[in-house]
Structure formats: C-alpha cells, structure tokens
Symmetry: C2
Amino acid sequence: MLSEKEMPTQWYNILAEMPHQPLPALHPGTKQPMTAEDWYPLFAKELVHQELNTSDAWIDIPEEVYEKYKIYRPTPLVRAYNLEKALDTPAHIYFKNESVSPVGSHKLNSAIAQVYYNKMEGVTNLTTETGAGQWGTAMALATKMFGVELAVYMVKISYEQKPYRRSLMQTWGAQVIASPSMSTRAGRKIITEHPTYQGSLGTAISEAIELAMSTPNCKYTLGSVLNHVSLHQTIIGLEAEKQMEMAGEYPDVVIGCFGGGSNFSGISFPFLRHNFKGNATTRFVSAEPASCPKLTRGQFHYDFGDEAGYTPLIPMFTLGHDFAPAHIHAGGLRYHGAGMLVSQLLKDNFIEAMDIQQLESFEAGVLFAQTEGIMPAPESAHAIAAAVREAKLAKEEGKQKVILFNLSGHGFVDMSAYDQYLAGDLMNYSLAQEDIDKNVAKLDQLV
Amino acid sequence: MLSEKEMPTQWYNILAEMPHQPLPALHPGTKQPMTAEDWYPLFAKELVHQELNTSDAWIDIPEEVYEKYKIYRPTPLVRAYNLEKALDTPAHIYFKNESVSPVGSHKLNSAIAQVYYNKMEGVTNLTTETGAGQWGTAMALATKMFGVELAVYMVKISYEQKPYRRSLMQTWGAQVIASPSMSTRAGRKIITEHPTYQGSLGTAISEAIELAMSTPNCKYTLGSVLNHVSLHQTIIGLEAEKQMEMAGEYPDVVIGCFGGGSNFSGISFPFLRHNFKGNATTRFVSAEPASCPKLTRGQFHYDFGDEAGYTPLIPMFTLGHDFAPAHIHAGGLRYHGAGMLVSQLLKDNFIEAMDIQQLESFEAGVLFAQTEGIMPAPESAHAIAAAVREAKLAKEEGKQKVILFNLSGHGFVDMSAYDQYLAGDLMNYSLAQEDIDKNVAKLDQLV
C-alpha cells in the first residue's frame, strides 16, 4: 500500500527515451507523416502533443486529473502468497490490483485524462468505441465527472452478450449504440455486405470516428494503441515501482495481458526505462490470446487502426485491419493490431510476446479466484496464465524469480463466461499461419 | 483511510451493554429459553457462546480472522462531496465503503469469522442460504479460504434472475441449489403445495438447516439476524468511528439498509454505545424496503426465523414467517423479520426505521453512481435514499448535519435491475396494513 501522498505526480513518456524511435504514422490520403495539424480534427490538441512528444520523458499530471485519480489510487500491490503456495513455486508473485477502480479496470486512468484535456479545450461531445465494455464504462464515468456528453459504439456481440456493461454505461449517462449500426456510413456499408456481422473493434472505431467528424464541437477518444494512452497508464508501473521498492524486491519478469497495449504498457514502461540504461535485466512479457495473435504470429506492417480505413496508417504488428477474430470471452483483447510503441519495442527485442489459449486463461483465472479471492476479468486471466507459466518454470529451474503482473480488471460483469467455462462449453481457437499471412499480404497495397 | 495497523482488534458486543436485554429465544419444541446445548447442533460452539454472551462488551478477533480481514480491510470512509453538491445541502455526507471487499459486500466480515470457528471445531461441511446472493458469495470465498465444503440454497427467483452471483459461488467452489428444491423435506413440501413458488429466504433457511442436520460433521451458518453476525459486523462501525475522528467530525445520523440487520448493526452499534452512556444524541436510521416493512409496519412477536419452523422462536419485529415479499430487486432485504438486538433497540427507541419505495431507492442509487462514481447494490441504494432524505431535510432546516451511511455493497452483479429501472419497467409496492396484521395474528398460536 502506497499512501496518497506518495502517488507519482508525473507520467513517464517512453517515446522520449526509446533507443529507436518508431516509424511515423502516415496520413491515410497523402501517405506523408502525420503532423500535429493532421491529428487535430480527431483528438484534443494537448493529447496530440503528448502523442508526438519525443523530448520530455516526464509529463506533469494536471491537478484536476490527480484529484480524480485519488478517488481510487494508489491501487494496491499484493504478494500472491496463496497462489505461490498452490503452485508450490519458489517464485515470488506480485500483482498490481487495478480492479479496485470504480469501473473495475485500469481504463479509467486514461479516460479521466482524455476527458479532462477535451473539456479544457471546450469540447462538449465525445465519441468512442468499446469491445468488452471496459473502456466504454470508464469513459462513461469520466465524461459524467466532467460534464461532457458521450456516445459509445459497442461491438454488437458484446452489446448482446454483456448487457451489464451496457447498463453500467447507460446508468452513468452515456448513449450506447450496437456496432455495426445504421447511424454511420461505415456501419451501413458493412451491414449491407454482411447482414449478420457481429462487429469488431475495427468497425466500432470507424463508426465512432465518423460520428465525431460529423458532429459539431465533438472529438474522438481511444482507449488503447496510441502513445498518449500508454503515457497515462504509466501511473500503474510508477506506483508499482515504488511499491516493489517498499517490498524490498525488483521484478525479474513483468507481465500484462495484451489487446492494443494500454495495460501492458502501463505496468511495463516505467520498469523498462532501466533496461534502456543497461541497469536491469528484467524481462517484459505481453500475454495475448492465441485466437488473436498479432504479436506472436502477425507481421510488422503499416496498417489502419480501424476497419473502414479512417485512421492514420500506423507501423504495427498486425493481423490486417479487416481481421475478424473468434468470439472469445476476453473481448477486450480482440483487436487486430498492436500500438506503435510496443511494436517497435518488440522489433528491438526489449519485450517478449506469449500466446495463451482460452481454456488455459480460464483455468488460471479460476485458480487465482480460488487462491487470492479476486475474480479476474477474462482479459486479465491471460496475464495470470503467463505468470503461472513463469512460476512453474521457476520451480523446474529451482530459481527464486520475482514475477510482477498487472491485474487489469475484475470479472464481476463477465460471470457468464466463467459459467460457460465451468460447464465445459468453451473451446480453444487457433489460426492457420497461411490465413494470417494471406490477410496481411493484402496490406502491401496500402503503402 | 485508516492504516492496516489501526484496524480494530476486537469486535463490540452490544448485548453486554444494552439497557434492556432482549427476551430469550425459545426452543421450538419445548417453548423454553434456548440453552447453549440447544444451539450446538446448529452452530459452532464458539459462535453459540458469542450468541449468548451478555458479559463481555469486547471480543478479541482471532489472529487468523484478522489476517484474512487485512486482505481488504480497513475499508475507506469517504466524504461524498459531489453528492452534497448535487443536493445543494449544508449537510456533510460520509459513507463507509464496504463494496471494496473481494465479494463486493460487507458479508465477508462475518463469513470469514463463522467459517474460521467451524473449521477450528473440526467441521468439514457447511450449509447456508442466500437471497440476492451476497451472503452465499461471501461464504463461498470464505469456505474456499479455509478448505471447507459448502452447499448454498439460493432463493429460486434470484437463482434465475442473478446467474452471475450463482456463477461466482460456483467458481469459488460452492454447490448451489435453487430453493425450494426436491433435496429436502421442507422443499418438497412447498413445491408440492405451490408448484410455481419462486422461493423466499425463509424457505431457503429451512432447507439449509435440514441438510445440515442430516449430514455428518456439518453445521449451518446464517448471514444476518443473529447476535453473533451483528457482532462480527461491528468492525465496520469501529473503523468508521476512528475514521470520523480523523475527519474531525461525529455523525448526527447513522444509516444502514435493513434486511435482517447485519450491515445496519455493523455500522450503528459502535456509535450507539455512546448513546447508552448519554454521551451522544446521534440518531440511528434503518432503511427498509416499503414492500417488506417489518420494522415500520410489522409487529413485535415471537416468530420463527424460517418458513418451515426449524429455527428457535425469536422475539422480533416480523411480518410472519410465511410472508411472501414482492419480487423487488433488493433481494437481500426480502426477509420477514428483524434480529432480536435490533428489535429490542427499536422497542426501546434507540433506533428509528424508515421505509423506502423501490423507485426512490433506484433514483438515489443512480444519483450516487453519477456523482460518486460507485455503482451501489440495490440494497445499499435504500441507505443512500435515506441519506438523501436526511440531507434534503438539513437543507430545509438550514442545519449543518453530519450524515454517515454504510455502502454495504456494489451493484456490478445487479445491473439488470438498473436496466429495468432506466427502461421504466419497475414499480413500487405497498402492502395493506390489514393483510400484515392478519398474517402476524396467526403467530399467536405459536407462543
């Protein structure tokens, strides 16, 4: 437990310290590097500056954001003694508990910051998309806090499977639309072509962007992938660093589950900065679902962030922007690409990627619930599964390794998934590499 | 925020300090006062001793229980600044946030203690019942912590309406049976007589007791009503007392929602002890649903705690043990009677009761979610509604009153209820006084 007074007052901007800068994002029309002006129509100016800031490693957290953080931060760092005992491992396992936020996940860290900067610039309406609903929920609360209107495009399969998340957003005052919808050109197009399409994050992003572009005084917000989102999430790792120090340990492995990169970046980047200086040999492991394996089996390529091609072209590990992932229960991890920071760091071997099958993730999630008492989100269960693998390895090798993972959220709103798992109704999904390659090969025509 | 070190090490046993002792519970067969020996078949011996302890005002919290408490305690005391602002009230509103426990409610405080004492006495199997699922969830986690088997009879309507709570219990390893069931004599009887009966806490208690009585090395546990449950819950008020002192204030009104009395007792009794000594003029308000108004409109009478009449006869405010409450969404408050401590204190005018209609409770719940960011359980929303009433009154009277209420749990697993409320599908329920009187009049034949 960190006291309120010890909460970090700055975010860590890894972009300013990476040994190799990522390639620039490209304008989808001109194929030229995106300038700040190119980004302005989409995002609040201050967020664009953060997105492009390559000079300041530390960015002050605005006082109003800091005050909102104090509602639930600092979050606890917990030694998972009972999990260690159950695994009979010599490893020390720690987890950062982001599930204690009022929305139940780490997503609020960036939602508060994004809404704040938009509000400061006079924006009255925001749009966003959400997969499983974690990001949309966080935005619903953050916009309510600052008195801004919000429209959320929610992936249709989640809209139907996760009515509780939809209700949460609505109770906090947001407008929630199932995507694909008839309210946008991008949505109408895909419904016309595929009437039974269950939606994807890529499509929902297209719809949210289109609505923002066509509404006065309205901007768009994104909950992962981009640099400024990772920046806000570093509060997780910065707190964890202080807390590990209080515990008298330093992690040998840092683990986060991986969708677009926001929680993995948040827990990892503050520790990773010591690796840049050669002061540490910590490993950083991103745990992604085997059914959506962009880091382990995708290709590094320029690609769109959305399905319709409204976003800039981003240099990323990707499965192709029109990739339709299997309907796994870790809805927040069903995204075709990885953020440019993480992609570059993977290319440069600063981080590793691990793919986890659905059943392994649920097995780890149930073990964690039964030993540590906290019901993890299906997304977070991937990080737990990776931690379990590392702990078992430590046992085999007889090493007293220190493992730190991020518990990005709780699973109270995802219990139907556990229900199906316990009933034996879930299965694993794997993709043929040639299908992935074929899908990514289509990208060559983009740039 | 209280530091871990400042967490109270004793529970407060109000039974030892009440100006008027409650009447004794009576043996259902002999109608004689229950002795410790009479209670032993049902409960662990140490819990029976706590139930009957009229001499020790302070009971040490066992070290193993204390260690488990530290997983989530002390819980935060929060000043609801934004709610105050929204109500434009001069009142200071504080709430104790019990929703941060891993099961999402205060119920774990007593579950841990009850399972611990049973485990110490060699019990290997426990049974219990649950209405909305909060108590069953807490018992599922507590039994998993101590390695004890658990069977939970869950009120059928909740079993069907709240599948997430059922999944939580199952994930933590408990066996969950919809009540009424065919697994007990009491269940078979009521199913035979009323094939479509949707269940009640009273019936579920009968079934859980019957299973415990007919299973070797098995005891029964109850999540409210009884003295030892209230005792364990005083950790809430004892922490709050220290925290209010840190805030430099003392409550003028203390509020808890009311089902059987566990969370109301927990927040109230530690403050109430100062009233006994004439040192304070604090008011204590229990907020019960208008559809289940035992304190405001029931009668003080000896009655059974369960529907089949397996329990001792308890001196309580009651609507009659066969009362079938409306299917409101605050499932945890749908119980026919009040615990004997609270009943005696109400008779002696130490506490007050307030009835809240369903729509008023949801309106208050949504206001709280939108201002303070936390989604309250429908049960807890009754306490919020009462706090809102008090705050509005303070505004009318121009008084700077200090209000403290207990946020007994979060509503993440109850979002379908909010969904129906927002859609305008919920309604209020009121009972005719003559129906209540008629139902209670039947009790005269009992004693």
